[in-house]
Symmetry: C2
Subunit: 333 residues, 2 copies
């Protein structure tokens, strides 16, 4: 293994100078830098990050902590983060929060979390890990959270979605989701969206009933399928369906297809997130497209600030990014 010392010897300088040269510090003579770089190149030197990290206390790595990156939503989000971090010369470690708790639900030792910070989504149970690092939480709507938050525009986006259905003539709007939470402190995006939908329906003067206006299914594609079936089988009578995620909406589309329902003629469907799959479904899916790129930029920027100013006392910030209503076939009428 070729070390900095080897490079230094080859270049006829000391390790100190070689180190400085390789990092492009400007106290070094251009000529010296040249020599060092040439030597490094010649010997095929690659820096030992562990050593650097031990010395400086920084690893240049950020952990993306999630329950899972499967599915279009998480994977496109994860990609945005990797890209953004790479741009900053950092790297992304991906860690599944599933493996952070043992069978008894206790947090496992996370000694490996040598990363400089954590970007967490659906990872609240990993509280030890979060607390021991600069952390940014995504899609966490806890009030007075101790962490910086970056959120999708769940409220405004949902309202826009409901209004869109309304504008398309829907007067019996149904919500697809697990439940409609009580007003107090909703913690997850799902809950925020359900609540906002209810409020907007009410604001528009529509009939709304916590029980009858909800098709209660699990938050998943399969749940969506079930909701589609129920719409048809139970003759629910909604002329518009709001789904708080595109995954759910895509499931609904499939479930309705199973019953030969015509979307959007019989019922209009709108989703939330803006995953690319919605461009290719049959029918294509109207949705609230969240600005993932901005989410990534905001989160990385908040995080790097915390990493670089560990002692600064700054109140936790919340960034809410923008959205765009995309009208496609599922509400075109």
């Amino acid at each position: 293994m070729v070390t900095l010392k080897d490079v230094a010897r080859e270049a006829g300088v000391t390790a100190t100078t070689a180190s400085r040269a390789l990092r492009g510090m400007d106290l070094v003579t251009p000529k010296t830098t040249q020599k060092v770089v040439a030597a490094a190149e010649k010997l095929g030197y690659r820096m030992n990050i562990s050593a650097q990290s031990l010395r400086t206390g920084r690893s240049g790595t950020v952990t993306f902590l999630t329950a899972g990156i499967d599915g279009a939503y998480f994977s496109s989000l994860a990609m945005q983060f990797a890209a953004e971090l790479n741009k900053q010369g950092m790297h992304m470690l991906i860690e599944s929060s599933r493996y952070l708790v043992d069978s008894q639900g206790r947090e496992r030792d996370m000694s490996y979390l040598f990363s400089d910070g954590i970007i967490g989504i659906n990872a609240k149970h990993a509280s030890k890990a979060l607390a021991s690092h600069p952390s940014v939480l995504l899609e966490d709507y806890t009030i007075d959270s101790p962490y910086d938050q970056v959120n999708a525009p769940s409220q405004s986006g949902t309202r826009a979605a409901i209004r869109h259905l309304y504008d398309k003539g829907c007067r019996h709007i149904g919500l697809v989701g697990h439940d409609i939470p009580p007003e107090s402190d909703p913690g997850a995006s799902q809950q925020v969206r359900m609540l906002a939908a209810k409020h907007e329906c009410l604001a528009l003067g529509l009939d709304f009933d916590d029980e009858r206006s909800l098709i209660s299914v699990p938050w998943s594609r399969q749940g969506g399928v079930e909701a589609g079936h129920r719409w048809a089988d139970d003759d629910l009578g909604f002329d518009g369906l709001y789904c708080p995620s595109d995954g759910l909406a895509l499931g609904v589309l499939r479930g309705l297809a199973d019953r030969g329902v015509d979307v959007p003629k019989d019922v209009a469907v709108i989703g939330f997130d803006g995953i690319t799959d919605g461009q290719y479904s049959v029918p294509t899916l109207s949705t609230i497209a969240v600005d993932f790129t901005s989410m990534a930029q905001a989160a990385v920027s908040l995080l790097t600030h915390r990493i670089e100013h560990p002692d600064e006392e700054r109140y936790p910030q919340t960034v809410t990014v923008g959205y765009k209503l995309i009208e496609r076939e599922s509400t075109a009428r």
Copy 2:
């Protein structure tokens, strides 16, 4: 920051003993171990991985190197790997090969690649990184590759797909893809699949022409849409369409839907990969489902072997995993 020394002091032993106790080495008295563990717990000790890694030369981290994890295919693959590595007590760093080459196409410094090994997919241009680590390549069909390979059953799976179309009465089978490569050394899964499809068509005594049997489009969902359009607009006359990836197939379904084509009645469509999206499309997608779990297990096992036996001279191995033909609506007739 609490270090091993602090723990040792608290427990009344030396750092060495503390280190051994914490790692569960059995030369340490159970009683001593107890004390050390208690002290660590009390002080909230977490190991400094950089230091450990510097000392031992191992980071416990594997890089998943890919052009991108967006899309259902890469993300489910990536998840399988993360899960498998986590099971082994290792961690996954995700790195986009896009950021490994600069604008001139030269490989950038990858000093950060402090991981113990690399699992690469679509990452051949990162040859320096691969060469400097134990590496396993996924979906690389290069003959005489210097690296271990883990591949999907592209040949046998493709043949099964074509035979399935044949069994469903298709006699004019079209291939969707970029091109049909020459016989020699195909490097990518796409090429292997196209070639295998051609061979199987020929073996079944079907008409086949490199030009006329191909709908040449880019390897993407959008490419699939285009292919669907062409089928209808150019009156291509295929009664069965083989798509070498589910993404492509889902695009085709959407493209055919644009033209009001009835799948499978007018034309049957089959994909390859087995991503979950195919369960929810309209119509649902028949496909060759690749055993991703086995891919992950095989790759991790090959890699850990190389990591643990760096000096062993072992010829590069190739593992080809199994598949399952899943028949859904898109070929049901």
